[in-house]
């Protein structure tokens, strides 16, 4: 089924500036796999070399942290929204 993944600003360069991407999948893992299949540059930003979600990338299914709902095995349904909330460095963002 098709769900919506919201792409945060720091990752939009890797989705052709798309703010949200529709993907298919039965669970969060399949949905994220669908995302990096259509936008392969995202892989290194979301996953470590051994395929684990990076610690500074938090993924929320309908505002629930997937770390506490079953990680990538968390089932999804078609009205769901997956939000990726990365760590953002910005704040004063001049030259440092």
């Amino acid at each position: 089924m098709s769900i919506k993944i919201l792409i945060p600003t720091p990752l939009r360069p890797f989705t052709g500036r798309q703010e949200e991407v529709e993907v298919d999948g039965r669970n969060v893992g399949e949905a994220l796999e669908g995302l990096i299949t259509s936008h392969p540059q995202l892989r290194n930003h979301l996953f470590t070399a051994d395929g684990k979600l990076r610690s500074f990338v938090n993924v929320y299914l309908n505002d629930e942290d997937i770390r506490y709902t079953g990680l990538q095995q968390t089932p999804v349904k078609s009205s769901d929204t997956l939000a990726i909330i990365p760590s953002i460095a910005g704040g004063c963002c001049c030259c440092c």
């Binding site: 953002i88 004063c92 440092c96």
Partner: protein, 380 residues
């Protein structure tokens, strides 16, 4: 013009800094004969808000807040806190004002950029004009494991206005060790995120983002940032800060707030519970406070390198004379700028030097180039 505290790494007092002690509000108009209005008139609209009231205003007046970073978020936070009558603000920033800051860094003016004033100094001037009752401590310094305790002093709450994860992880260590709340905030593009770390109550930064600082390298330098998202996140940080200062802990927001003001997407996300095995808040192992991750030269934005303080007193007058044959030099009491001539091998290189010896070198991302430039013209 009020004299700002002496800028520099060692400008903070050695012991914990103390702001003025709690005292009853000066509410009797007759008590201050020269004042055109009862002193608390300026806060009347805030005092009318029942959860604050006069008792809350007294608490704010007796409070000390530290703002780490005085760029976009820090400017907005400081302006709000000063107007609200928070008695003492410590402003810590290592940088100076540039024209490209003015779009979103609301405390600064064109003249500050022309003078290349350190942001903490420019902020202190402006804040004094906004509310002269507020004690502002300007600290022109890079926050380090060695100086943060002296710089932050006894501040009850620490607000994040930084632009990098090294400093945030350092702050997180310090706040958890000291059991003091700190309020994370970050903005990029039209998006912002904030959450409040309450040591021993909530998850800390490392519980939420893990131990690996950084990763998402796109910052405001490349993705830009809109001034209204800055104001939005800063306002939420200040709201939580005020609640903490007046003891309204039941009113605190305990979610991770993520907002994209362009897309009108507002989310309150459940933070993870405290991780009992978290290095910082579980095992109380304060690696960043011990300085184990700290390099002496850091890349700084797209095109700059910072050489951390050498702890050497600079005589800007003497140095200007020495550097003049090699390029254009300009200095004031706070900062020396040096544009190296192409004939001296420095096409496009610009050095900004602070009184404690710290330098920012623009025009290169190569630490070796920066180091050799510093060694050649300033000293090794």
């Amino acid at each position: 013009m009020p004299e700002a505290p002496n800028p520099g790494l060692h400008s903070a007092s050695a012991g914990p800094s103390r702001c003025h002690e709690k005292s009853p509000p000066e509410r009797q108009s007759g008590a201050v004969g020269t004042s055109p209005q009862p002193p608390w008139e300026r806060y009347s609209r805030q005092i009318l808000f029942a959860p604050l009231g006069e008792a809350g205003q007294s608490e704010l007046r007796a409070s000390h807040v530290a703002l780490v970073g005085c760029g976009a978020l820090g400017s907005a936070q400081a302006g709000l806190l000063a107007r609200a009558g928070v008695g003492c603000l410590t402003i810590i920033d290592r940088d100076y004002v540039e024209a490209s800051n003015l779009q979103r860094q609301s405390l600064f003016e064109e003249e500050d950029a022309r003078e290349s004033l350190p942001k903490a100094v420019a902020a202190a001037r402006r804040l004094h004009a906004l509310n002269s009752e507020v004690e502002v401590r300007a600290q022109v310094a890079d926050l380090t494991p060695e100086n943060l305790s002296a710089l932050i002093g006894d501040a009850a709450v620490i607000l994040d206005g930084t632009d990098n994860f090294e400093t945030r992880y350092l702050l997180n260590d310090f706040a958890v060790e000291q059991r003091r709340p700190w309020i994370y905030g970050a903005v990029v593009g039209s998006q912002g995120v904030t959450f409040t770390v309450l040591p021993e109550e909530t998850a800390c930064l490392e519980c939420v983002f893990g131990s690996q600082p950084g990763g998402m390298t796109e910052s405001c330098d490349t993705a830009g940032v809109l001034n209204w998202v800055v104001q939005y996140i800063a306002a939420v940080q200040v709201a939580e800060c005020v609640k903490l200062l007046v003891g309204a802990r039941d009113a605190l927001r305990r979610t991770v707030l993520s907002a994209d003001l362009w897309r009108n997407d507002f989310r309150q996300l459940q933070p993870p519970p405290r991780d009992p095995d978290c290095r910082v808040c579980g095992r109380r192992d304060f690696m960043h406070l011990r300085g184990e991750r700290r390099p002496h030269i850091t890349l700084c934005g797209r095109d700059s390198v910072q050489i951390h303080e050498h702890d050497r007193a600079m005589d800007f007058g003497q140095l200007s004379q020495r550097l003049a044959p090699h390029g254009r030099v300009r200095h004031n009491a706070h900062v020396l700028k040096f544009w190296l001539d192409a004939s001296s091998g420095g096409s496009g290189l610009e050095m900004t030097l602070f009184p404690d010896g710290r330098a920012m070198i623009k025009g290169t991302t190569d630490p070796a180039v920066a180091r050799s430039l510093y060694a050649r013209y300033i000293g090794s």
